[in-house]
């Protein structure tokens, strides 16, 4: 049995990345490097108003004064920020009106990814905004949504068509001074998605963005802004892949969510950036700032993430619970394999009274990877009767990987209750034996146990994603998931 389970672990650590192809699309790129001219160039390419250029320049100037943070439990060679192309876009021939006009190569790309725009449009009724190399290429279903007053379009389009909304909310959750990578993003972001749900509207379909880094040497700096007005509801999904390359690529995105009174936003991510090969060569550096603010009372923001990709993941989807009775949730499954490193978790900042937050984090480490949970729960003085429950479990597959938990809890209020618990273990021999004794093979048994372990999180994913997430888990832990 020992030998057999070793074989399975071997297989686990040999799973290959299935989305590593490269699409040959004609690209328009900016010269390498970063300076004010590049920022002006990006802004000019996108025909941006003056205030946005000012925002970019302000961010850039602030970025110059900042130092790259070093506190995370990850190791990587220094990034040369002058060696990155900050703008790369598929060359647009003309404005696209329907899917037929989309470059067939692109359609192929998305077919290969298994997120065929066509198919999804017809079958699942998911509106998709696909972003390749930071430029939004196609948004489906906009017309249907427009009837309800929902705005779902690329960020550039929103800047042109709804400048007031963008101006009002851009940087209101993640200010341009927030952190090193957020400032960088604020200076050079090229595109992304924008979503606005008007008062009292319940978005009938799931909105989705697909990110893909295609060109070499480019960084992807997209920016997502979701605003749910009073009483609105939206479920938003995000997926990402990248081609297989030997060099590392940088992905520094920002996601901002604003939930006004009684609004609810559910944000689900399946992160599947290229994680690098078995020896840890290549892969995406995923340094992302994601934050939501429950601005009004009784609002709710829920993050669900399945992290399987990228060489280094460094992200903390957070919720600022400002409105009274607001709710923040964070559900995460992070799988690391080979030489992947993940330092991920969440921040729940309780500012309002009677606010509640739940954190469920499941880490699975295999190969020689390192997987850390780092989270902050903070309750300020005036936030009475707050409640937090955190549970962070880690599962170790193999004896060369690491699993770490770094929770930070700061409470200044005597009426709040904060609980944190965490466990770290390997798959128990008893559980394995129990399954095998009932005629289940080791492989299926491991699959069963891992699935059960992650289930608490997977069940929070929208249907379409849950299927994809399970597929991804089986790619990442090939052989061990039944």
């Amino acid at each position: 049995m020992e030998k057999e389970s070793n074989n399975i672990l071997d297989e686990v650590t040999k799973g290959e990345y299935k989305y590593g192809f490269y699409t040959d699309i004609e690209m328009e790129t900016a010269p390498k490097g970063l300076n004010e001219d590049i920022i002006r160039y990006i802004s000019a390419r996108k025909n941006e108003p003056e205030w946005l250029l000012e925002f970019r320049l302000k961010s850039y100037r602030h970025w110059l004064t900042m130092k790259e943070p070093k506190w995370a439990h990850i190791n990587y060679p220094a990034i040369d920020f002058q060696d990155i192309i900050y703008y790369a876009a598929p060359k647009p021939k003309k404005e696209l009106k329907s899917l037929d006009e989309v470059d067939p190569e692109l359609i192929n790309t998305f077919n290969k990814l298994g997120i065929s725009l066509e198919e999804q449009k017809r079958l699942s009724g998911v509106a998709v905004d696909a972003v390749i190399d930071s430029v939004s290429v196609k948004t489906t279903f906009s017309d249907t949504l427009a009837k309800l007053g929902i705005i779902f379009c690329s960020f550039s389009e929103a800047v042109q068509k709804h400048p007031d909304l963008v101006k009002q909310y851009l940087g209101s959750v993640v200010p341009h001074t927030d952190n090193f990578f957020a400032s960088l993003n604020s200076a050079v972001f090229s595109d992304g998605s924008f979503c606005y749900i008007p008062k009292g509207v319940r978005c009938p379909i799931e909105l989705s963005t697909y990110f893909r880094i295609n060109a070499a040497n480019t960084g992807q700096f997209e920016r997502t802004l979701i605003v749910a007005d009073e009483g609105a509801y939206v479920s938003y999904m995000e997926g990402c892949t990248a081609p297989q390359r030997d060099e590392n690529q940088l992905h520094a995105a920002i996601v901002e969510i604003v939930a006004l009174k009684d609004a609810e936003v559910k944000y689900s991510t399946v992160q599947n950036w290229y994680p690098g090969d078995k020896d840890g060569k290549g892969g995406i550096y995923n340094f992302v700032t994601k934050r939501g603010i429950c601005k009004g009372s009784h609002s709710k923001i829920s993050w669900t993430q399945v992290e399987t990709g990228s060489a280094i993941t460094w992200k903390y989807p957070s919720v600022i619970l400002m409105g009274d009775y607001s709710i923040g949730e964070f559900y995460s499954v992070a799988v690391t394999n080979h030489h992947q490193q993940a330092d991920t978790g969440t921040k729940m900042v309780h500012l309002g009274r009677n606010t509640k937050s739940t954190i469920i984090s499941k880490g699975i480490s295999a190969g020689q990877s390192n997987n850390s949970y780092r989270g902050l729960v903070r309750v300020i003085k005036r936030a009475e009767n707050c409640r937090n429950f955190s549970q962070c479990d880690s599962l170790l597959l193999g004896d060369k990987c690491g699993a770490h938990t770094f929770p930070y809890i700061r409470t200044e209020n005597p009426t709040s209750i904060v609980e944190h618990e965490a466990t770290t273990s390997k798959i128990s021999d008893d559980q394995l034996f129990y399954c095998q004794q009932r005629g289940i093979s080791t492989e299926s048994a491991i699959g069963l146990i891992v699935n059960g372990y992650a289930k608490e999180v997977l069940q929070h994913l929208p249907m379409e994603f849950a299927v994809e997430a399970q597929k991804l888990l089986s790619v990442s832990l090939e052989g061990s998931v039944g």
Binding site: T405, I409, R410, T424
Partner: protein, 483 residues
């Protein structure tokens, strides 16, 4: 101190502006002025460590709140005080009986005391007891037993990157040395008392070394106390080595005045099969930082580290516990509980590291806190860092308040709310108190905690264990007027 920083020739040019010097500058000046060595001269290894440590200190500097390990604990205010650095031995010929008497009823201990960081003795600075145990001044042990000490001194502290630990190694002049030979079980409890008697503001760097041989067993009680208090800064470092199959019961009692800063760093190194039980009871203090660093180096070693802190007013308590599992089949269990009242602030930072080869490790970590006011703050960071796969590790942390249902239950039985609250807090604290294995000490601490919870105990004038209510048992009184 200020004027002496400036050589006479330069005094004129400086006289126009009032210079203030940072503590680091003052320490640097002090270090340059005095040759630091243990009485009788540093052996080669100690001198080397001193030099390296000073270099390390100049690199690391004094801690500030920006450092991850010092998050939540701000010493800036403590560093602003004008301290006097004691370099003249103060321990010889002091009649300790006249200024200090431990008042735990029926508590027979072998008492060793430090006065202002110096070992206190009348006849000889170093005693060898009939069972072979050596107790005395570290400075004289350095010259008497250099071969023995060489293998241990600085072995654990030199690995630290902590600025204050390096400063201690660089400036240490004396402390307590304890050696228990192989196969010796010490029947009497060893009590180490650190006394401060000085009208001046003192900064001290006491350095202790405790060595337990194979199969040696010791009970150790460490107390910190002030008699005559200026503002004090104690930066104490203790290294403890537990030999194969040895055991140590260790207790730290802290009941200090509110303007003192106490940095208590203890390193434990545990060989195969050794057993450590360490308790830190903090009842009062200005700023207290307990640093316990446990290294489990041999298989089947076990460490139980627990702590209780009851803080009020502006007091600050910081418990940092680092457990390093370097060998397989070891167990560690951390449990810290605290009640914070008024403006008190607390930090718990537990860190369990399980190294790659430390398979079959069992490590638990628990921190429970009760906040009583909206001005009190708790910062808790229970960390797990795990590189081995066949382990059972868990941690839990909670922050809450007294259970309203329990409170109601007790009140419905005719007990006043105030008494009910004390009862519940006492029950919360009792889990730690019950871990104390010396009955007299447990009874005493139990009484002190009860008194503390009723607000009767502030810091005592003499011993940390020297209370006015001699042998009176403390009982809960039911306040009939409130029923």
């Amino acid at each position: 101190m200020k004027q002496s920083l400036v050589p006479d020739g330069e005094k004129e040019t400086m006289s126009t502006s009032i210079q203030t010097y940072s503590l680091t500058e003052k320490l640097t000046f002090h270090h340059g002025q005095h040759k630091h060595a243990f009485a009788g001269g540093d052996p080669v290894f100690a001198a080397e460590q001193r030099t390296n440590a000073w270099e390390q200190f100049t690199k690391a500097g004094l801690p500030h709140a920006g450092l991850e390990q010092w998050r939540g604990t701000n010493l800036d205010k403590s560093f602003e005080t004008e301290y006097v650095f004691s370099t003249v031995p103060a321990g010889q010929g002091v009649d300790i009986e006249s200024i200090f008497k431990c008042a735990i009823p029926h508590f027979e201990t072998y008492l060793v005391t430090q006065l202002n960081g110096w070992y206190v003795y009348n006849d000889s600075p170093l005693h060898t007891l009939p069972n072979g145990m050596i107790v005395g001044s570290l400075a004289s042990a350095m010259s008497r037993f250099p071969e023995l000490i060489q293998n241990y001194y600085g072995k654990l502290s030199s690995e630290s990157i902590e600025g204050l630990t390096a400063l201690n190694t660089a400036l240490a002049l004396d402390g307590i040395f304890v050696y228990v030979p192989d196969n010796v079980t010490v029947d009497e409890t060893l009590q180490m008392v650190n006394l401060l008697d000085s009208p001046e503001n003192l900064m001290l760097h006491p350095r202790n070394l405790v060595i337990l041989g194979r199969n040696a067993h010791l009970r150790l009680v460490q107390c910190d106390d002030s008699i005559n208090h200026g503002i004090t800064f104690i930066n104490s470092v203790t290294e403890v080595f537990l030999g194969k199959d040895s055991s140590l019961d260790h207790y730290k009692l802290q009941n200090k005045d509110s303007h003192s800063t106490l940095i208590n760093t203890i390193y434990f190194s545990q060989a195969e099969g050794s057993r450590l039980s360490s308790n830190a009871i903090s009842l009062n203090g200005g700023i207290i930082r307990n640093n316990s660093l446990v290294k489990l180096e041999g298989e089947n070693a076990s460490a139980e580290i627990s702590g209780l802190y009851l803080m009020d007013k502006n007091q600050h308590i910081d418990n940092r516990v680092f457990v390093d599992h370097s060998a397989p089949h070891c167990q560690s269990n951390e449990m810290f509980k605290g009640v914070l009242d008024d403006h008190a602030t607390g930090v718990f930072n537990g860190h369990v590291l399980v190294r790659r080869d430390a398979q079959q490790t069992v490590a638990y970590q628990k921190n429970n806190n009760i906040l009583l006011t909206d001005k009190a703050t708790i910062d808790t960071r229970p960390f797990l860092e795990i590189y081995a796969d066949d382990v059972k590790c868990s941690h839990g942390a909670t922050v809450g308040q007294l259970d309203a249902n329990a409170l109601f239950y007790i009140r419905s039985r005719g007990i006043s709310e105030a008494s009910a609250r004390i009862l519940l807090m006492y029950a919360f604290a009792a889990e730690i108190i019950n871990k104390i294995s010396i009955p007299e000490l447990r009874q005493r601490i139990d009484d002190m905690v009860k008194k503390r919870l009723r607000g009767e105990l502030s810091y005592c004038d003499q011993c940390v264990l020297h209370c006015s209510a001699q042998e009176n048992k403390v009982n809960f009184e039911i306040d009939m007027s409130k029923i």
